[in-house]
Symmetry: C2
Subunit: 139 residues, 2 copies
């Protein structure tokens, strides 16, 4: 781990721990070392041809390529989990992409980055619907 | 950092790096040290009274208390980010909660945990709508 990265990691951990003290219980920090970036960009894709494994794999490979964009701090590529079926759970999507950024500027830079534009151009024929949620960490 | 936690962190980093090699470009790992848990549980809340700062703060404090549940590996509490307004972006929600788990079993245990039940009982009067997405990392 590079020195600067380690400092960032420790600083983020400290902020996260401090934040937990403001809850209505004195919460322990969540276990594990998965610190979260401040800005989350969560995208859900519905495929035009959900039965096509090839289409799904092509989209997943495309999403993975987005990790190379320099302002992207974390990536999680997912599919609906087989958790309990409940009315509030939307498991109708086919592929999800969670990207983490340091701030809004990082996400703005990502939107216009050539690799992101290339991803959209080459993969948009695969999906019928996209829903995006951008969430900024509450201090 | 406890030895076991550090081992988990390093193991997860190694898995994440390996996964990135399967993309259509040889992507560098995302910069920073925000490794992602395997199972993401992302919840979006719409408040009954969006103008009430007190209601919002009460919900946020309640969400933070969920970090004390032992299977929760990470937490991000957010509000809509002021990113570019686009048709596909849903910024109509008021509070978001992203919890990370090791696996589906961890999320199942969380659902029936007394602290989670207490949170729902004490805060459900605040929201008018909830949408949940559970996403399992693609290998």
């Amino acid at each position: 781990m590079a020195d600067t990265s380690r400092r960032d990691f420790l600083a983020t951990s400290a902020i996260a721990s401090a934040g937990l003290l403001t809850g209505d219980v004195l919460a322990k920090p969540a276990t594990g070392n998965h610190t979260m970036p401040k800005l989350l960009h969560h995208v859900f894709f519905w495929l035009k041809n959900p039965e096509s494994i090839a289409d799904r794999e092509q989209l997943i490979a495309g999403v993975r390529s987005l990790a190379a964009i320099d302002t992207v701090r974390s990536i999680h590529v997912g599919v609906p989990a087989s958790t309990e079926k409940r009315e509030v759970v939307d498991n109708s999507y086919h592929v999800s992409e969670l990207l983490g950024f340091d701030d809004v500027a990082g996400q703005d830079a990502y939107q216009v980055h050539p690799l992101h534009k290339k991803f959209v151009e080459e993969h948009q024929h695969l999906w019928s619907k996209v829903v995006v949620y951008d969430a900024l960490e509450v201090k």
